[in-house]
Point group: C2
Chain length 316, copies 2
């Protein structure tokens, strides 16, 4: 499936860090970085851009802050064609703490927001643009938003200067028809904007939803090594690259990073397809209850988890 304008973004450290509070060694982050560079991946999201006042370094690792001195220790001057991205969570970053782009190794700031925060997101994203960054806005949890609210948010985004807007399947509850409908809605509401897709794998549909988005004109594709990410994780980047067969990408360096750095983490944290994540996904719910269950000693008692979910009759 040759598309000249595809851009693949690796989110392993940023989304995977949601499972271990970004407590990755420099060696791990360097391994992911090296894999992305050699594979020809376009962007690597290396963490969150947060203010030091919002979190304690005793609790979270350096990739929750993406301070330039931490970045530089791992990627040097990043004298490569790989662009680095950081995600900004509204309310967790003081705009004054964002350096001008020409003083930072970060190339792109992605602003994640819920529909009701879209005005704040636009303000922050345009602030970052004015500082010289590439920017996107990633509209989260849209599978639970009513159509009128979503339409209003999209109309606001259409009027903004932000050039790239993401379809985000936060709960992993969407499938080909719902993804296609959303992508077409976004494209119609925001002519001229580039679109992205960020999928979760609760129903083993992250890869498929990414491909469906691509077929429908989305060009920014998020994925992670071995699908590492919150809960059921994301679209596995190695599947996406193997599928695309695009001459600008190479699979082997990603496999190397997986076997050396990512796979060992499977012994420590339970991302990926597990039944509790399926249940929240199929119910279109936030994965937090499933994540809590997976952290308990009853994690393999799927029947009890389903019974505990308040409205399990939905699926029963």
């Amino acid at each position: 499936m040759y598309k000249a304008d595809i851009k693949v973004m690796d989110c392993t450290v940023r989304d995977g860090g949601l499972m271990n509070k970004w407590q990755f060694s420099d060696d791990f982050v360097r391994g992911v970085y090296k894999g992305c560079v050699e594979a020809g991946v376009d962007y690597m999201e290396i963490g969150y851009k947060s203010s030091e006042s919002a979190f304690s370094r005793d609790e979270v690792g350096p990739w929750k802050f993406c301070d330039d001195k931490d970045l530089r220790r791992v990627v040097g001057d990043n004298d490569t064609s790989l662009k680095l991205s950081a995600m900004a969570d509204i309310g967790r970053i003081d705009p004054a703490d964002i350096p001008p782009a020409n003083e930072s190794l970060i190339d792109m700031m992605r602003v994640a927001c819920y529909c009701h925060q879209v005005d704040k997101a636009i303000w922050l994203a345009e602030h970052c643009m004015d500082k010289g960054y590439e920017v996107t806005i990633n509209l989260m949890a849209v599978s639970k938003v009513n159509e009128a609210d979503l339409d209003e948010a999209l109309a606001d985004l259409a009027k903004s200067r932000v050039p790239i807007i993401y379809v985000v399947d936060s709960f992993g509850s969407l499938y080909c028809e719902s993804i296609e409908k959303l992508v077409k809605k976004y494209a119609a509401a925001m002519p001229g904007k580039e679109l992205g897709i960020h999928a979760h794998n609760n129903m083993q549909l992250a890869m498929s939803n990414t491909v469906t988005s691509l077929i429908n004109g989305v060009t920014m594709l998020d994925a992670t090594l071995l699908g590492m990410g919150r809960g059921a994780g994301n679209c596995p980047i190695e599947i996406l690259i193997a599928f695309l067969k695009n001459p600008k990408y190479r699979l082997l360096p990603l496999l190397d990073a997986i076997q050396t750095h990512v796979k060992p983490w499977q012994q420590k944290i339970d991302w990926g397809y597990h039944i509790p994540y399926l249940i929240t996904g199929a119910m279109n719910e936030h994965p937090r209850s499933a994540m809590k269950w997976m952290d308990s000693e009853q994690k393999d008692d799927f029947v009890s988890f389903m019974k505990e979910m308040h409205d399990y009759e939905l699926l029963e």
Copy 2:
């Protein structure tokens, strides 16, 4: 997605048995059976129908033969609405060893064949029909068949009395567009036939390909508990049932069977998404080399496996 005429077939014992030579305890098979009955699943494929002369009972378990006395030990008289199916491999079953349907607990015989065997498959399937069975023909490995050969096979099937024909993604190499194209081709070539889908999960597309097939008119849907099956396994039946939200099915009994019987097998055999299976799937190759690799001590050395594949440049 309400469709009145959907039928779901659980293939856990039959396809999962390819990973352990059908060495399942009676308790396991009974657990799967009970789960299917209580969940309202339509069919359970309980194994292969093979002649005793083709395999040794010292090597393979009873579900390679599906002898009625073994069946009866597990399901009694099967006084339920669940129908039992067995798969017949051409050349491994002497037609004389197939009892009349009214003397057997088996309700359906599925004949698996390659395109070049389609005449033999039609003969065997019609032989089973004459003995009173429901039948299907499952045309394997079509992703490697040239279009003229496939068209000829479909034309032969169209002329047969066999009422149900399966689209089979043997190598897990297909995706939404290729699946849609195949389903439409099958429907056009064989008007009046019912269609089925049997997917493999090498690229994490088994669930998605099953849904795409359903959207395009396929009504017989194969799936297995926790995706248990050869290599990367199949469409996970618990995802399919959770997705369908069809009032005739219940999810909870399937989760019970998974946690009690199927999940413990994950400690013993490596079905499901693993990088070697991804590589054969993306290359549209039979998974046998990946299965061999997964049985070796180097199973987590994905880079070496990819280099060893003869024409790995395809993906590199």
